[in-house]
Every structure is written in structure tokens, then in C-alpha cells.
Symmetry: C2
Subunit: 331 residues, 2 copies
DNA sequence: TCGGTTTACTAAATCGGTTTACCAAAAATA
DNA sequence: TATTTTTGGTAAACCGATTTAGTAAACCGA
């Protein structure tokens, strides 16, 4: 039993495709289709359970009601939760989501981006590792509806939904200093992303403000291709250097470090404090104690969707830059 | 600068659409297009950066290379991780993912399902709360490529990728009984899903096998519409009843309970043992100690994709039922 | 009862590809 | 040289919708 098309319906009822299409699109009255015919078509539609082919619609209309969601890893709770919220918000507006995970790889990002474009997405919501890239740049120039979140390239004009980085990081670290911390280390994945750089700046600023020495050796970079091994090595370095506080620039690295601490140094989990940019539910009851900077997931999602919808609708160039305030959670 | 279509390319080069299409699809030799013309077209394609419109392709070919991924909540780590793995596996086969979260609501599930179908997905990977539903049933009857995972309706023939439920649950609980537990409670979300019922059966069986009394009052059901409040109430009941072990039927409820225990009964976290169907990374270092039944995420994803690809390719009816073995993690 | 308007509806073009069927010229064969 | 085959292409139909431009018939006022 093949699916019925408008053509089939028209034939079955002895009317034209045009008439059926008008009725389906609620243009029956406007287009002077008699009530009788309208009813006949609507009844038949219901009876056979006709569903329009969105692909055909998309081809004709030039719009797919599809948004691409491009992030480093959809299984990272931060991106998963934002994705989920965006899914719900977009659904209300009649859009739905295609997803892509880039693994922070430039090549994968460009391939996914091209896939999205070939599939004629109406817009993109992106946490990109490579905003400067050819494809994105050209899209930007041609005014393709896009919203960037989580990451920014200050050299590129675009719509950004961001979260303040430097100051919150500084303030979170200040809390530990207020409690007497003197030796503070930092663990970050490769900071080729501007927002990570800012978080690290916050770290340096906190030290500076308090007259603490900035020791370059205590700023450790983890290779994001082999997080576990690399983090273990760098964490070990910091522990052996005798730090009282370890600062992390995102949730993934904090989670890894918590796990490592419990596996390798269970005796030390009570002496050390973690500071994490990004919050995770588990921080509420894991050790070491974590002071975290919680990004406002709902706001990020809401703003992204709002700006995107606006840009799609207005078809005008827009370069909004929204900086949201994160929430400091001291435990 | 509008995007070029095949028609534009053909006009620019003074050849026909047909010729361009043949060359683009590597049918140049087969269709006797001269090397010279082929090169000319390919060079021009590269120069102007032509990208085919997948929507048009889909309309003509009747296949979209798109798979729908329908789960209760894409931000649940279990579904997020499986989704991520599936994304990667499908990508290799030239497919990509559209996602939908049902929130365990029948109505939402049907709406999303219809959306997927209107968008002409080539197949579906589903953790459904409502397999018996009209839409799914009719799809099944018309032999639409689908794979169900995580959940089963034994009354419906289909492709299932499942994990053993009863025995592993029984064995996990046995570990706690071996260590002397006598009073064992259970917390589950509303078990309107067959696999949850089986997990609960495993719980009952464990008690039975060991001559322990099955006290209906210790089997508490949490309302999945307001998990936190409901779980708090039910957990309180169990704690006050003096249980030594609490069993959970999925990760979400375990995670909530861990959080609640640490918030409300920090003094008891060391005395109580949790048993969780589904594993989470945090169990490695959270309290109370968790004995967990880890579902083989990678295998689930791999099998789902494999079976789906097979069904799509062969266009034959198939009713595979694969039951994977979970891994018991004792901490 | 004639011209204009409204009513009720339809043919055909279009979106951007793929594919079938066909054709002229050149090359190969009889 | 006449005929067949191969080479190198093209026109047009098609996928399933939307939309423009139009057309008969009914109606309506003068």
C-alpha cells in the first residue's frame, strides 16, 4: 500500500491537484472552493490518513523547517541539555533538529557543515571550534541564519550567545583564596578556543589581584585527543607540586579529574578544592568539593532560538552579541 | 550570489543537464561522455564550488539518507551516548540523524513519529514507550525499516536490540544478600514499560531465591512527571522503614536518589548500598556505594545500526531479537 | 439581454535533481 | 559503398508539492 499523494487524492475525487492543495493549506475560502468540495476533500484526507511529503514541500518552498545543531559532542551533558532545550523550543516554532558532533576536529566540522547545507537547513546553531573557517565565513558573508554559542571568535562578526568568562572565573577562584589558598593550579584542554583563553585569563587575574605568584608550571594543558591519560599525567604533576586548589576550564576535564582523584588519590580528596567552569549535577555530592560556575543552560538555549528565529524571519543582517551571567555555586 | 543548480552549470557550459548529472554521478564513462567534456564539467564544478541539493535528490530518489532517533530524552546520558555512537556509525554509512525526545508521552511520540515520516526518513531507531501505538503498528505491518532498543513489547514482532533484564538484576541483588542484606527496597519510575517489569521481577526473584520475604510496601513507584519530589517521598519511606539496600530500575532514578541521599541523609550514605540498573560514570566515586548493571552502550548502538542498515538494504521483513548481556559492576 | 463580476475550479510551470528514450554523426563492418 | 554499431550527446518525463494565470458558467444590474 503505497502512500497517497495529492495527485492520487485528486484523481480519486475527480478534482484537480490545485484544488486539493488549496484546501489542504486552508486557502479554500480565499480561493473560492465551495464548502461542499472542501468538506469532501477534508473527509477523504482524514479517511485515508493523508500526510504531505515534506521533501516535496521543501523543494518547492525552499525552506525545510530544519535547523542544524553542530557541537563538539552531543553526549557531553552541557551540549546534550542545551540541545534538548533547543529541541523543545524549536518544536514549538515548527522546526526540528539535525545534529552533528565535530569532536573538535576542523575537518569533521566542515564536512558536517556541508552536509547541513546540502540538506538545506534553514539555520544553524553552532558551538564551533573553527569559526574562521572558509565555509562559515562564506555563510556569514552571505547572511545565512546562524547563531554561535559557547564560543566566540572576536575577529568575526556574527550572532553570539555567550557567557561571561573572565570575571566569574576570577571570582570563583577568589573564594578559595579568601579561605587561605595560596598554591593554585589549572588544568585545561587545549585552549585554541577564545572563551577558554578568557577563563585562563580570569585565573591569572585572580592570582595577580591577590599578589600571588603566577607559576607557569602550574598551568597544565591536557591533550583533548587522549583526555584520560593526559589528564592523569598533568593532575599528578599538580598534586605532587602540592597545590591546594585545581581550576578547570570546562566540565569534561573536571569530571575526569574527579574520577582520577578518587581512583588515585582517595586520601587527598578532602584536602583539595576544585574550581570548575561549567556545572554538573554530580558536583553536589562528589569529592573533592567543587566550586563551580554554572552556565545558564535555559537562557542560552532560549536566546539562541530567539535570535535565530528572528534572523530567519527578518532576513536581515544582524550581529547580536549577548553575554549572559553564569551563577557561582559554592559548596 | 544564489547557489548554482545543475541547470545553471549546464547553461554556463553549453551542455545539457543530463550530461552534467551523468558526470556528477560518475556515470560519464558508462554513458559515453567524452573525457574532454567530463573534465570540463568537473573543473567547472570545482571552481564554482557546486553542491547538489539533497532535497531535490531525495524527492527524485525517494530516499533521504536520514534516520530518525526517537527516545524519551536525548539529554539522558544513556540515550545521549547511544545517540552519539549511532551518529558516528551512521555517518560512515552516509546517513545522518534527526532526533526527537518524547518525554515518555504517547502524544508527543506520535507527533514526532509523524514528523519523521513526513520528512521521509529512511529508517527509525526507537526507544518507545508505546510500541503498540497505531502509527508504529501500521509501520511495522508495512514493513518500514525500524529497530527498537531498550524496550520491548512482547506482543509485537519487530527488530529488538535488548539487554537481559531479570537475571542480571537478580544477580546484582544477590551480591548484597551475600554480604548480609536482609531488608531490600526498590524504587522505580512507573513501570509501564515491559523491561522495567522484568527488572522488578528480577528483584522479586532474588528475594524468593533467598527465602526473604517480599514486602509490597518496599516496592515504591515514583511518578515520572515529578521525579524529584516523588522520589524524595518514596526514598524517605524506604529509609525510615530501615532498608539496607535500595534497588533502582534505571539511571535517572538512581542519580536522583544519590543526590537526595547526600542532601538529606548524609549520615546514612555509608550504611546503605544502592543497586542500579544502568551505569553512570559517577558511580565510581559517589556515595552510597553502587552496584550497577552496565548496559553495553557500544554494542547496542552497533547492533541497532547494523540491523537497520540490513533491513533498509534488503527490503525484507525481518524480526531479529538480540539480547545482549550487561556487565555487573561491583564497587 | 448584454457586459461585467463573481464563483468554482483547473492546466501548466516550477523547485533541482535523475533517468529513459531517442538521435545524429562518426566509425566499423559487410 | 551500404549498412550496422558505437560515440557523444540531448529532450522530456518524473518525483510531490505550490502557485500563477486562466477559463467556463452562473449571477447581477441596467
Amino acid at each position: 500500500m503505497k502512500k497517497k499523494s495529492i495527485k492520487d487524492i485528486a484523481q480519486d475525487l475527480g478534482v484537480s491537484k490545485t484544488t486539493v492543495s488549496f484546501v489542504l493549506n486552508k486557502k479554500g475560502d480565499e480561493k473560492n472552493i465551495s464548502k461542499k468540495t472542501q468538506k469532501m476533500i477534508l473527509d477523504y484526507i482524514k479517511k485515508v490518513g493523508y500526510q504531505p511529503n515534506q521533501i516535496a514541500k521543501s523543494l518547492k518552498n525552499g525552506t525545510t523547517n530544519t535547523i542544524g545543531y553542530l557541537v563538539p559532542d552531543i553526549s557531553n551533558p552541557f551540549y546534550a541539555k542545551i540541545g534538548r532545550t533547543i529541541e523543545d523550543l524549536l518544536w514549538e516554532k515548527g522546526y526540528h533538529l539535525i545534529i552533528g558532533s565535530t569532536d573538535e576536529k576542523k575537518e569533521k566540522e566542515e564536512r558536517l557543515l556541508n552536509m547541513f547545507l546540502n540538506r538545506q537547513v534553514d539555520g544553524l546553531i553552532i558551538a564551533s571550534c573553527f569559526i574562521k573557517g572558509e565555509v562559515l565565513k562564506s555563510l556569514s558573508e552571505h547572511n545565512f541564519p546562524m547563531v554561535f554559542f559557547d564560543r566566540e571568535d572576536p575577529g568575526c562578526l556574527a550572532n553570539y550567545i555567550l557567557v561571561e568568562n573572565k570575571t566569574p572565573m576570577k571570582e570563583a577562584i577568589q573564594k578559595t583564596i579568601d579561605k587561605g589558598a595560596k598554591k593554585i593550579g589549572l588544568l585545561s584542554i587545549t585552549p585554541d578556543v577564545y572563551s577558554l583563553k578568557l577563563r585562563i585569563d580570569g585565573y591569572k587575574q585572580a592570582l595577580l589581584d591577590n599578589g600571588l605568584e603566577y607559576d607557569q608550571n602550574l598551568l597544565r594543558i591536557v591533550d583533548h585527543n587522549r583526555i584520560k591519560e593526559s589528564a592523569q599525567k598533568e593532575l599528578k604533576y599538580l598534586i605532587e607540586a602540592g597545590v591546594e586548589v585545581v581550576v578547570f576550564t570546562n566540565n569534561q576535564i573536571t569530571a575526569t579529574a574527579i574520577w582520577l582523584m578518587n581512583m588515585l588519590y582517595p586520601e587527598k580528596v578532602k584536602e583539595i578544592t576544585f574550581v570548575s567552569f561549567d556545572n554538573l549535577d554530580i558536583f553536589d555530592y562528589s569529592m573533592p568539593k567543587v566550586i563551580s560556575i554554572a552556565q545558564p543552560i535555559d537562557s542560552i538555549a532560549k536566546q539562541s532560538v530567539e535570535i535565530l528565529a528572528e534572523v530567519i524571519k527578518s532576513k536581515k543582517i544582524k550581529n547580536t552579541r549577548i553575554e549572559l551571567k553564569p551563577k557561582l555555586i559554592v559548596r
